[in-house]
């Protein structure tokens, strides 16, 4: 039931056991919901841990914002931090960045306890707040100089640090413009440049692409991707494709708890106990269904598009993960004389993973999912 795969980027946390009422879909909730009990500077596979959350809990009065959040992030990882609004993401990030201390538990950044050695921990940290907050009346370069001074950079390093940060984010040509007059995309770059000043080993970016137009989103995403090569990055977002394209692992939170910590591919294996392909066939529905069911190793066939009696229909063909039935299905369809229009592997999108996890948690039982569902959840 517990998993601990010693591959960087695929490490999972030892669990505390299944919560009551957990559905039988997989062990995912058991290993993801609880936390690690150890606090090493190194993980089991020898990589250096850059960010560690140990049983973080935060209460405001009677409200519990974050219940018991534990995870570890190794040096060089880019990790997506997902969850619906109000899931406790921001509260968790604020404990990691030292905005406020946890009610219990520990947050460790680059080996420093954020609550006990706040200044040392913060020095290792670059943070982009959710609203990319910056002072509109300041010039870009002046603002970055201010941040550099606040980060304690000496007069000599300061100019170089500001120039490097502007270079990395491509904002040199706007260095003398007022931040308030910049486009949102450029303001976001200024926010990222600010986080980069002082070359902190850890970057925490809160919603770096929210409110940007598609072109800006692509640019910022590329920028973040580039940053990940040398740094440890937490990318908080609720835009799932972003995480899919950038992150090696995801941490999924809901209602103040962690639902899962793993790579998207691993999550899929756990959440969906079968492999699924989509087959679009021109032919009479009942006959096609019979043919598809007759293919060896096919476990289940479900219609996902096309009314009965329509000329073509699309089918989801499921098999066990270890069997790839695509060739057999193609041969069977063609052999039976029907037209094979389309055949593809249906990977579970992060959106589905996300909704399945959250749906499971909220329903207390696994919910059945169709493959063609789901727009982005915002």
């Amino acid at each position: 039931m517990q998993r601990s795969v010693p591959v960087r980027g695929r490490r999972t946390l030892p669990g505390r056991g299944r919560r009551s009422g957990a559905g039988g879909r997989s062990g995912i909730r058991s290993w993801a919901a609880a936390g690690a009990t150890r606090a090493p500077a190194r993980s089991t596979d020898g990589t250096t841990l850059e960010i560690t959350a140990e049983h973080l809990r935060k209460t405001f009065g009677a409200t519990v914002a974050v219940h018991d959040v534990s995870f570890e992030i190794a040096r060089g990882e880019v990790v997506g931090f997902l969850g619906p609004n109000g899931a406790g993401k921001s509260t968790t990030l604020r404990m990691l960045t030292g905005v406020f201390p946890p009610s219990s538990g520990r947050a460790i950044i680059a080996g420093r306890d954020v609550a006990r050695e706040p200044l040392e921990a913060r020095r290792a940290l670059g943070y982009l707040p959710e609203r990319a907050a910056a002072y509109g009346e300041m010039q870009v370069a002046g603002y970055l100089r201010f941040i550099a001074e606040m980060k304690g950079l000496g007069a000599r390093e300061l100019t170089g640090a500001v120039r490097a940060a502007m270079g990395a984010t491509g904002i040199e040509h706007v260095s003398h413009r007022l931040i308030g007059n910049l486009s949102k995309g450029y303001r976001q770059r200024v926010g990222i440049a600010q986080a980069l000043i002082g070359s902190p080993p850890v970057l925490i970016l809160d919603e770096p692409t929210s409110g940007l137009d598609p072109e800006q989103v692509t640019e910022i995403r590329g920028l973040v991707q580039g940053l990940g090569s040398e740094r440890t990055v937490i990318l908080s977002t609720h835009i799932l494709p972003e995480v899919e394209s950038i992150c090696s692992r995801v941490i999924i939170m809901n209602r103040g708890r962690i639902l899962a910590v793993d790579s998207p591919a691993h999550l899929e294996e756990h959440l969906r106990p079968y492999r699924e392909i989509a087959v679009e066939v021109a032919g009479p529905g009942d006959d096609v269904l019979r043919v598809l069911r007759g293919v060896p190793e096919v476990v289940e066939v479900v219609a996902i598009a096309g009314a009965p009696g329509a000329a073509t229909g699309t089918w989801a063909v499921r098999s066990e993960h270890r069997h790839d039935v695509r060739r057999a299905v193609a041969a069977a369809v063609v052999g039976a004389g029907y037209g094979l229009v389309r055949l593809e592997h249906l990977a579970m999108t992060l959106e589905e993973i996300f909704l399945t996890l959250i749906g499971d948690e909220e329903a207390g039982a696994p919910s059945s999912r169709r493959t063609e569902q789901v727009g982005a959840s915002h």
Binding site: F60, R122, P129, Y135, E137, I147
Partner: protein, 247 residues
């Protein structure tokens, strides 16, 4: 220290980079100039003899009103604006302590006020050019004005940490300061012993000595304690995020 000065310089640049600063300075100068003029006119018309009690005292008591009007408008934005913009959260993640944030902003507002006070000396200089006078009493008056401003700024900063709405911060500052002014006005209903304590706490009763040209240690101490108290409130208010959350 570097962080404090970085914050103070940023705030000063923000003040002087926006029209509000010049409006506030203008209002202060027009009002204080008018008060100075009418106090001199009064002094000449009614043939008072002693400058310190006949003129300077009235000038400084009037300057106090203008200061009361203007300073809450200077301090209201210091933290409220950061809260509104969300930049406060960034400041909290920088390697800087809360007290440094407060002192930096305090220093900026104080320097801004010092500029105002410097400009408010112009009528004195002009007056001196025509009619040289003993400099002691006006110097005591300006020391008192600066101390009074220090107390106002501290109170304004504390109010500004409590809200993200600048108007609320200003109103709160006015409320507290005016209360510290009016609290001795109820002699008619108060017990004598109570009044005596209130007099000790009252803001302006400690200012009148300065206005009349005398610097008393107890008055200096009062304003410094008043300022320290409100800066402490500001610090606790910033730290309250750990149980109030970031609102």
């Amino acid at each position: 220290m570097r962080a404090i000065s970085a914050i103070a310089r940023r705030e000063l640049a923000a003040y002087f980079g926006s029209p509000t600063a010049y409006v506030l300075i203008g209002v202060f100068l027009v009002l204080s100039g008018y008060f100075f003029y009418s106090d001199v006119a009064l002094f000449v018309t009614f043939g008072a003899q002693v400058l310190s009690t006949g003129l300077w005292r009235f000038v400084f008591v009037d300057y106090r009103l203008v200061t009361l009007l203007v300073l809450p408008l200077v301090t209201m934005r210091l933290f409220a604006e950061e809260r509104k913009l969300g930049t406060i959260e960034l400041l909290w993640t920088l390697p800087v302590k809360d007290y440094q944030l407060i002192l930096g902003k305090f220093l900026a507002a104080w320097c801004f006020f010092a500029v105002i006070v410097l400009l408010a000396m112009i009528p004195f200089v002009v007056f001196y050019a025509f009619f040289p006078f003993d400099l002691g009493p006006p110097i005591a008056g300006f020391v008192g004005l600066l101390l009074l401003g220090t107390a106002f700024i501290a109170c304004g900063i504390a109010a500004s940490t409590l809200t993200e709405n600048q108007v609320v911060a200003a109103m709160l500052t006015y409320g507290v300061l005016v209360f510290f002014w009016f609290m001795t006005w109820n002699e008619a209903v108060g017990e004598e012993s109570v009044i005596r304590v209130l007099l000790l706490l009252s803001l302006f009763d400690h200012y009148y000595n300065f206005a009349s040209g005398s610097i008393q240690t107890v008055d200096v101490a009062y304003f410094l304690v008043f300022a320290a108290f409100f800066l402490f409130i500001a610090l606790r208010s910033l730290q309250s995020r750990s149980w109030r959350g970031v609102v």
